[in-house]
Structures are given as structure tokens and as C-alpha cells.
Symmetry: C2
């Protein structure tokens, strides 16, 4: 049998796997169907084996046996796990990261606090800058927060592949801007915004930054402290592998925290929680952005996900993410280009997160048929994108080759147009 380009790719990928320092970690995840190729780790990360054990222990020992007494250690968990998350993945020193609520709620709390601070100093500083391709929740919440302050959102045009235009962003900044909120990695294209450069420009006009790290944390090297970032939020169900709807996190720069007030003053943020006094006085630091009782199961799952990433080391995770997405783009060019696919993510790995989008006019049907008949899980994203997320911790290089093979076979055969599968819209970002 002649050795074709497919076999050459597979041999090369197997060599990459053999020299991958993170290869062993793939086995730390539950794999139910070995034939399934899961390229949706950027949407809902796989289940770590350790999480199964830990959740069982929290349910049966902490809750079932310990009952209310377990609050003696549960109460510090959101801040402790926040610190571990910040140190391992965000470049954040202790006391600045908290696991709490959802991305949506955290984004609201931080944006409201930022606008309250800005408008108190200067009522005319009430514009929020974001980009027109930012994730929907971000755009909706920021618009509501700006409107609540009599301001508005200024939308910077975003290139569908390369993200927010730096020149247009610079032009949008002025003395009326209170807050600039961007996704560090774009949810559709994976375009990576230069955090240091943007932060510097934003600070120059006296505004604050609020980063959405949902697609960045656990996939690229984030350096909040080092870049002087002010505020950040992010989810934990993607690269952090904390499970469906696990709690999100928020970051508030230490030197800024005590000048901010949460719009939602819940008792978990009170300086003396059990005094239950007549008026609310917030505790010092990021903890003031807590609200109600934290989800202990959720925070526990976040902890396990963070521990796994910390063990891997974000530098190695990033390097593998670059290698996986580079391989994917190269294979897509060679084998999927002739079938009508076009790369819709930055080719420069320094400007790209850990997922890849491919444009194809039948992307919706392809995404559905891949799940139904090819055992490949990927996302459809409007208007015509197939989004592939080979999460570095749980994906092998050979998986990428097999995935491209299956996509080529499916689309080459035209079966994606005859498959009975209904289009699937998985509700993770």
C-alpha cells in the first residue's frame, strides 16, 4: 500500500504526541467513547477524573456527613480557589480573584462599579467602549450599564477574523470614556487582543479596562498584574474543565478594589457577615464583589480544573495550543480548502487563542452532521463558521488529523446535506 499524505500527517502527528510533555494528561480525563473526537473543549471542557472523586467526596462527606459544620472550610473556598486560579492562569497575585456567580453577573457588577466610580468623579465620563463582535452577553450587559448611567456604548468595528481594529479602538478613546471592555480572545475567531497595549492606551485617557477572559484563561498566557489590567471576568466551564454552568470568576486590581462598590451588596460581601447589622459595609478587597451563598459543588469543580492546569503549567499549555491550532490550520488549508473551507482565525499564532474557526457556507449543516454521522464534536457559530477547539490538556495531535480526515470525508461525500441531523446550537460560549 502506498503511503499517502494522510498517513504522512498521521505519522508526523504521532511524533508530536510522542514528544508532547503534556501527553499523559489526556488520560486524566473521563473518555466514554474512544472513537469520539471532541473539539469543543473551548465550549464545555471534558470531565477530569479527579473531579468525579472530589465531587463525590464533597457531596457525601462534606454535605452528607459534615452538614452545616462544613461551612468552617467552605466559607473560604471562593477566595482560596480564586487565588489559585489567579496565580496559575491569570498572572494575578493573591487577594484579587474570586470565584462567584456567572460571567454575566460578574461583568454587570464590575461594569456598574466602574461606571459609578467614573461618573462620581466626572458625570460626563460615561461611555463604555467595546467591539461590535464581542460576545452577546458582554454587549448586552455593557449597553444596559451605560444606559443606566445616562451614557452609551461606543462600538469599535471588529474584523471577523482579526478582531477589534487597533486604530479604530485608539480613535474611540477620549475623556468621555469610563470603561473599555474587550474579550482577550474572541469567542468566534480566537483573535487575541494585545492586553498590555490596550491597557496602556486606555489608562492614557483615564479610563479602566474590563477583560472577558472566558476563551483566554487556561489557553493563553494572561498577565493581569503585569499589564496593569484593572478588572476581569471569565468562565470556568471551557478550558478550566469545571463543568456545565460552574461558577465564574472575577478579578479586581488590588489598588482599585477599595474604591469600588458592588451594585449588589449581598451578605457574603459584608465586613462582619454575622453581625447582620442595619447597614451594609463591604469588606476590603475583591471579596466585596461576592453576593449570595456560593455554589460549593461548583467552586470545588473549579478547584480541580485549576489544579490540573497548574500541574501542566500554562506555558506548556500555551505551547501545545499553538502547535495544535497550527497543525489544524495547515491540514485545513491542504485538505479542506479544496472543499470550500477558508481559515477564519488569525494565522499568526501570537495573535490567536487555542481554537480555530473555518468559514464554509454549509457550516451549520456540517457541524450537525459531524456529530450525527462522523463522531466529531465541533460548534457552529453564525453566520458560517465551524469552530474547532482542540483543548490542549485533553486533545492529542493525532485527534486533529483524524478530525480533518472525517470532515474531508463528510463534506467530500456531500453527506452533510442529506444527513437527517437537526442543526445543533450548544449554549456555551
Amino acid at each position: 500500500m502506498a503511503i499517502g499524505s494522510e498517513d504522512l500527517s498521521l505519522a508526523a502527528a504521532a511524533a508530536l504526541d510522542a514528544s508532547d510533555p503534556l501527553a499523559d494528561l489526556v488520560d486524566r480525563f473521563v473518555v466514554d467513547d474512544p472513537d469520539l473526537i471532541y473539539l469543543d473543549g473551548n465550549s464545555l471542557g471534558r470531565l477530569p477524573r479527579a473531579t468525579v472523586e472530589r465531587l463525590s467526596a464533597v457531596v457525601q462527606q462534606d454535605w452528607g456527613a459534615g452538614l452545616i459544620r462544613s461551612w468552617d472550610h467552605w466559607i473560604d473556598l471562593p477566595a482560596e480557589v480564586g487565588d489559585r486560579l489567579g496565580a496559575a492562569l491569570l498572572g494575578a497575585g493573591p487577594g484579587q480573584t474570586l470565584v462567584a456567580d456567572s460571567v454575566t453577573v460578574n461583568l454587570y457588577k464590575l461594569a456598574m462599579a466602574a461606571l459609578d466610580l467614573a461618573t462620581a468623579a466626572d458625570p460626563a465620563r460615561r461611555v463604555i467602549v467595546t467591539d461590535d463582535d464581542n460576545f452577546p452577553t458582554d454587549r448586552y450587559v455593557l449597553a444596559a450599564v451605560a444606559a443606566r448611567h445616562g451614557g452609551e456604548v461606543r462600538l469599535v468595528p471588529s474584523d471577523p477574523v482579526h478582531g477589534p481594529d487597533p486604530d479604530r479602538l485608539a480613535a474611540a478613546l477620549g475623556p468621555d470614556v469610563a470603561l473599555v471592555s474587550l474579550s482577550h480572545v474572541a469567542y468566534r475567531s480566537a483573535a487575541l487582543v494585545d492586553m498590555a497595549e490596550v491597557t496602556e492606551a486606555v489608562h492614557r485617557v483615564g479610563a479602566l479596562t474590563l477583560w472577558d477572559l472566558s476563551h483566554a484563561a487556561g489557553s493563553v498566557v494572561v498577565d493581569l498584574d503585569g499589564t496593569g489590567a484593572d478588572l476581569a471576568v471569565g468562565c470556568t466551564y471551557k478550558y478550566l474543565n469545571a463543568g456545565p454552568g460552574a461558577p465564574a470568576y472575577l478579578y479586581v486590581r488590588r489598588s482599585l478594589a477599595d474604591r469600588l462598590r458592588s451594585p449588589i451588596p449581598g451578605w457574603f460581601a459584608a465586613a462582619d457577615q454575622f453581625a447582620m447589622g442595619p447597614t451594609f459595609s463591604p469588606i476590603a478587597g475583591v471579596g466585596r464583589f461576592a453576593a449570595g451563598t456560593p455554589s460549593i459543588l461548583g467552586v470545588t469543580a473549579v478547584d480541580e480544573g485549576v489544579r490540573l492546569l497548574a500541574e501542566a503549567g500554562i506555558g506548556r499549555v500555551r505551547a501545545k495550543g499553538v502547535a495544535l491550532t497550527t497543525l489544524l490550520l495547515d491540514l485545513a488549508d491542504a485538505r479542506l480548502g479544496p472543499l470550500g473551507f477558508e481559515a477564519a482565525s488569525p494565522r499568526d499564532p501570537d495573535r490567536r487563542g487555542a481554537h480555530v474557526s473555518l468559514a464554509h457556507p454549509e457550516a451549520r449543516e456540517i457541524s450537525a452532521a459531524l456529530i450525527e454521522v462522523a463522531d466529531v464534536v465541533a460548534d457552529f457559530r453564525t453566520p458560517d463558521r465551524l469552530r474547532l477547539g482542540p483543548a490542549p490538556l485533553s486533545t492529542r495531535f493525532v485527534d486533529v488529523v483524524h478530525a480533518v480526515d472525517r470532515i474531508a470525508e463528510l463534506v467530500g461525500s456531500g453527506r452533510h446535506l442529506t444527513s437527517a441531523a437537526p442543526p445543533v446550537d450548544p449554549p456555551e460560549t
Copy 2:
């Protein structure tokens, strides 16, 4: 050996257990230490056995094996479980109850929406009425919401045993009132507010009601639809046995929902979630108060807790709650009164929820020593209350007798003052 009053009480309690139609349900909960008497079911409910199985299945099968594909059934869970919860426990018809976020965040969303609606119609209608003994988060959040609208909170004096004074409440109502927010059952005293009476009085002045049902749902018969209630929130980790920090719920009267807008317009509340369009348009009904990705593990645990209560029937749960607390108060009068305890909950069972507070100057030390040396778990609440919650589903009548015995023995011996146990403040409401 002579038969003392203690033995007589035990015999009577055993007879009550023998004729208790819910007696078998006690075995549906995980009991790790059979000697422990757990009177904190109103703070963190016990772990149902079924929840252990169900959570394990959701983690391993739905998440581990199904991965992102499980969103096809996860996505409807918050509304489905909300409907079951509403039907079983709140007197709420379908489409009005949603499981989401925490009590604090839900209270904020609904109060903001109510004030937005009121002030849009009449800028002078911006007062929120609550009582000065309402739960801290409620008071803090309501004050923040009123201030955000240029209004204020009007505090009705509350009797520490009997709850908000009805005459003072009536006097606080006027054309400047936008919202009246009360706890249906008071967190400390268990005083039960007459929902129908209050709602009628509030509607007479053109205001809306927002009920906190945290200590009421699953313990007393709540009839939101029947009383014409407008809005409600509540937690699920108490009588609903959904675990530490499980998601809360919110209720919005059907005829009111589409006139309200959530202040936090998250993508899970968008009319067409995956269109991801430029502007936010909320879906019809209570779903518009969703925000970010719901906690699937949490909603699942709520579902199991609700199913157990639905099987029991809230009428029988309430009857058992009345019987348990009546027995507890009677025994406390007889055996703890001589030791300095005084009942601090309403004696009329129709005006009382399913827990009992006893005042004692050394309540803090007693609560700590009970856990440490007597294997009885109860709460301390400021300033001098021992709070005992014999949750109807998981408590036997004989447990109440044994608990009073142990309290009497502890305090009679003075050991609560010499025990080394540090005072414990369990952070559940």
C-alpha cells in the same frame, strides 16, 4: 425505675412517629452519624439519597459522556424544575418560576425591575418598604436598589418574636411606595406574615410585592397565584435539600412579566439566544430574568429536593412542621424554661414557620457546645437566639425529645460555659 416525664415525652413522641404519614421519608436521607440530632435543616438541609445517585449520573453520563450534546436537555432544566417547584411548593402555575443565580442576585434583579417600572410611570414612586428585622441581604440590596432610583427604604418596625407590625406596615404604605418586600417566614423568629392580607393592602396603593420565601418554601403552604403575589425569590439549600449554595429561584406573576426588564440582560434571556444579534430583546415570561449559564449540577439537585417534597405533599409537610414545632415549644417551656430559656417564636402555629427560636443570654456558647459535646446541631443567631429547625422531612418526633434532653443536660451542667468549642456562625440563612 420510675417513669419520669422524660420517658413519658419519649413514649408520646414515639407514638407520633408511629402515626406520621411522612415517617418513611426520614430514611430517604443520608445519615452518617445516627447519634447526631440535626436541627439545622432550615439552614442547610440534609442530603437526599436520590441526589447522590442523580448528581453522579449528571457528572459521569451527562457531562463525562454526553459532553456538549447534553445541552439539548440541560437548556430547559431551569424552567422545568422551576415549574415543578412552583407547582409543588409555591402555588404557582407554570411559566412563572425559574431556577437561577442566588437569592441575593434574584432579589436585586426583581427589585430593580420593579423600581424601573414604577419610576417610569411616576418618578415620585420610589420608596421600598421592608421591615427592620428582615434578613440582612434583603435589607442591603433593597437599600441599594432604592438609592439607585433616588428613593429610599422605609423600615417598618418588626417585633423580634411576631414579625412586622401590621398596623405600622399599613401606615407605611402610600402613593410613593413602589415595592413592599418582606420575608414570608422570618429567618430568626419564624414569624409568618399573612401574604394575602399584605398583598391586598399593597395593591390598594398601587405598589408591588416581592416575597422572600427562603424559610417558607417547603415548610409552609405558599399560594403565590392565589394571593395575587407579584414577585418572589427563595433559596433551595434549606427545606428543599439542594445542597450548599445550590441555585435559588424567582417567581414573576404571568400578567406582570412582560412589563418588566431585568437589569442584567444576559444571553440566556435573549429571545433568540443563538442569533447573537446586535441588540438584546428579552424572551416572553419569567425566562427574561435568566442571566448567564445555569449551574446544571445545582439545578439537578434542586430537582431531586423538589421531587421529594412533592411526593410528601406540602399539606402533610406543613402539618408535621406544626406538630414538631409545637412539641418543641411545649418541651422547651417545661424543661428549658427553668434553665433561663424563653420562647422567641410565635406560639400560634398559624403564625409560625417550621423552626423555633429560643432566647437565652448564653445562646452563642450553648450553640457551640451543643455541636462540640452533645451532638446536636442548631444555630446561634444574634443577639441571644438558639434557632432550632426540625425539618419535617428528615426529623423524627423522638429527635425533638432527645434534643431537648441534651440541651437541658448541657445547660443544667453548665458545661456550655467551660467547653472549649469556639462559637460557630454557619453561613446559611
